[in-house]
């Protein structure tokens, strides 16, 4: 299975991009030429164009954009991992329980998840983030509250169809507890779509988080958050064209990485959409 994935060049590109992001996030203090620029200003050096010693130029405070981008990877990555992680932790159990039992309660759970899907995620996320006040923690909270229904609905649908499988019915008939059936029999068999959904969900979450930062709802100013950096750069266009370029590309490559990997995983894990011809 991994070999199939390794042969998908696009998926490998995605994995490489994510790998680079991980490395950058881990080694930011080592890789950054001016790690202190995340907090320090050098007003005389403000808005300088790219040069060999400052690859992406400097920003309005005279800080090195390249160094800030590297540290921004830490924020983006931890934010996406925690937000998606919590959304999965909320959504998957809800979907499992609602899909396993067929009663009013499971109906109610699904109706609630539908409410969250009745408006664009970004609107709810903005509203929640604004209500809670601008900070990274609140962005994470807003994202997990708005994104859990995606996993809940997916797991719900998959569990529903698993419920009728012979091996599940026989496990129930043999007296396995509902909890045991859900965790040991159903969950492993619906892991593939959850993994695919999670990879693609990471990309969507990073985009939404960047949008929140762009609208000024993320972490407060000195934080090197990519979306906020782009927002700051707006008033310096067209002169400081480099200012927005680097953070925008950083967002793009990160989201691209997760989307490509998700696509590749879907092809490998989900035989229904597998590419390549068949016969007979």
């Amino acid at each position: 299975m991994l070999r199939r994935l390794a042969r998908d060049r696009a998926a490998m590109l995605g994995a490489v991009l994510i790998g680079i992001l991980l490395l950058v996030a881990l080694l930011a203090p080592v890789l950054a030429p001016y790690p202190e620029d995340v907090w320090q200003f050098h007003t005389p050096r403000r808005l300088l164009p790219p040069a060999p010693d400052r690859l992406f130029g400097t920003d309005r405070m005279g800080s090195d954009v390249f160094s800030r981008i590297l540290f921004g990877a830490r924020i983006t990555l931890s934010l996406a991992v925690i937000a998606v992680g919590s959304a999965v932790l909320i959504g998957v159990p809800i979907g499992l329980v609602a899909g396993y039992y067929r009663n009013g309660f499971s109906e109610l759970l699904m109706r609630v998840s539908e409410i969250f899907l009745a408006v664009p995620q970004i609107v709810l996320a903005i509203a929640i983030a604004q209500t809670l006040g601008p900070s990274i923690q609140n962005v994470i909270l807003a994202l997990s509250i708005t994104y859990w229904p995606f996993w809940a609905r997916l797991v719900y649908a998959e569990t529903r169809s698993m419920r009728n499988e012979v091996f599940v019915e026989s496990a129930i008939a043999l007296g396995a507890s509902p909890w045991r059936v859900m965790v040991l029999h159903i969950l492993p068999n619906i892991a593939s779509p959850i993994i695919v959904r999670t990879s693609i969900g990471m990309g969507a979450t990073i985009l939404t988080a960047a949008t929140l930062g762009f609208l000024g709802l993320g972490a407060p100013p000195p934080t090197p958050e990519w979306g906020r950096m782009i927002a700051e750069s707006r008033e310096y266009l067209p002169e400081a064209w480099w200012y927005a370029l680097a953070p925008g590309l950083a967002i793009f490559l990160t989201v691209l990485g997760f989307n490509l990997l998700g696509d590749g995983l879907r092809d490998v894990l989900d035989p229904r959409t597998r590419r390549g011809g068949g016969n007979d």
Binding site: A10, I122, I126, A127, Q130, A244, G248, F252
Partner: protein, 334 residues
């Protein structure tokens, strides 16, 4: 009868969903650390004045009572007053809705005109260089942050090349309002300069908005074509020697489009979410920019109004999609 059936089924779950949505936003609006009464009374209000405002707005009553009152008002078409524009929210929203509709409509057309033919080409020439190239383009289109893409477009086409305006809906005096839609209004008025200005203004925001939607349409259409091509009915027609042209452009295309139509609701969702950001960047006076501004200013009446309107629009679009599907897929019309 099938239409009525779909309509009733939808309406049955619409009301509780919208109520739930309102409840969520309502709770949010009341846990907010900012005091709405103080906000409404203004910076220089005395504590007594603030209390008076609080009482007159009903903020001093228990939460369930406040919610009930709000829902009753909404049911009568009264969405309350914006704390900032001081105008009825229904008026604010309906005044701004045409701008969003116009922008979304142009984006939908762009997305369909780009997405469907490209998707068909990819599906027909699966795994060819065109398919691979467009796979990269569509995955990229879905990975770009739309606010950043918008800024790059502004930088290139407005600031550097000076071909297109930076933001807004029109230069100079807008045409007399007939439909509320700028391009039709300009056409009615017939002044070529205004028509030109209206069209120039919509290009960049519509393009930004259409990008992720077009990418989605390409992927759905491509998968639809591939699914149709590998269906037994196409195998049968090929074995019977139906000409390839006819099989592809009549039978396969219809199947692919039917499959794409089922996803229109999702595509509309992408557009509406995009409009929130795109309108903000381009200063487009629609309800998306209005929502962002209301949220940033903690204008909760406006936020709740917007949320409800969006929810209703979602419902209407999904209903239209259902009806459209029943119209083009005979299996649905039982």
């Amino acid at each position: 009868m099938i239409w009525l059936d779909i309509l009733l089924k939808r309406l049955l779950w619409v009301v509780p969903t919208l109520l739930g949505l309102l409840a969520i936003v309502f709770v949010l609006s009341r846990v907010v650390p900012i005091d709405p009464a103080r906000l409404a009374a203004g910076d220089n209000a005395s504590p007594e004045q603030v209390e008076a405002v609080r009482h007159s707005l009903g903020f001093d009553r228990p939460l369930p009572a406040q919610f009930l009152r709000y829902v009753t008002d909404v049911a009568q078409g009264n969405f309350g007053t914006s704390l900032f524009t001081q105008r009825p929210i229904a008026e604010d929203l309906s005044g701004r809705l045409p701008a969003t509709l116009e922008l979304t409509f142009v984006a939908v057309i762009l997305a369909a005109l780009l997405g469907v033919p490209l998707g068909v080409v990819c599906g027909l020439h699966r795994n060819s260089w065109v398919d691979h190239l467009l796979r990269i383009v569509t995955v990229s289109g879905l990975a770009v942050a739309s606010f950043w893409f918008a800024m790059q477009l502004q930088f290139l086409f407005s600031m550097k090349l000076g071909w297109l305006p930076l933001s807004g809906r029109i230069d100079g005096f807008p045409p007399e309002e007939v439909t509320g839609l700028m391009i039709p209004d300009a056409l009615i008025e017939g002044d070529p300069e205004i028509i030109d200005s209206a069209i120039r203004h919509i290009i960049l925001p519509a393009l930004t908005l259409a990008l992720p939607a077009a990418a989605t349409v390409v992927r759905f259409t491509r998968n639809g074509v591939i699914g149709a091509l590998s269906s037994p009915s196409v195998a049968y027609q090929t074995a019977m020697g139906y000409p390839r042209r006819q099989v592809v452009w009549k039978y396969v295309l219809r199947m692919a489009i039917t499959a794409t139509v089922t996803q229109l609701g999702l595509i509309f969702g992408i557009l509406l979410a995009g409009a929130v950001v795109v309108e903000t960047v381009f200063d487009w006076p629609g309800i998306g920019a209005y929502a962002v501004r209301s949220i940033l200013q903690s204008d909760y009446n406006a936020i709740m109004g917007f949320t409800l309107w969006t929810g209703v629009m979602f419902v209407i679009v999904n209903l239209l999609v259902d009806l459209l599907q029943a119209a083009i897929d005979p299996r649905e019309a039982r």
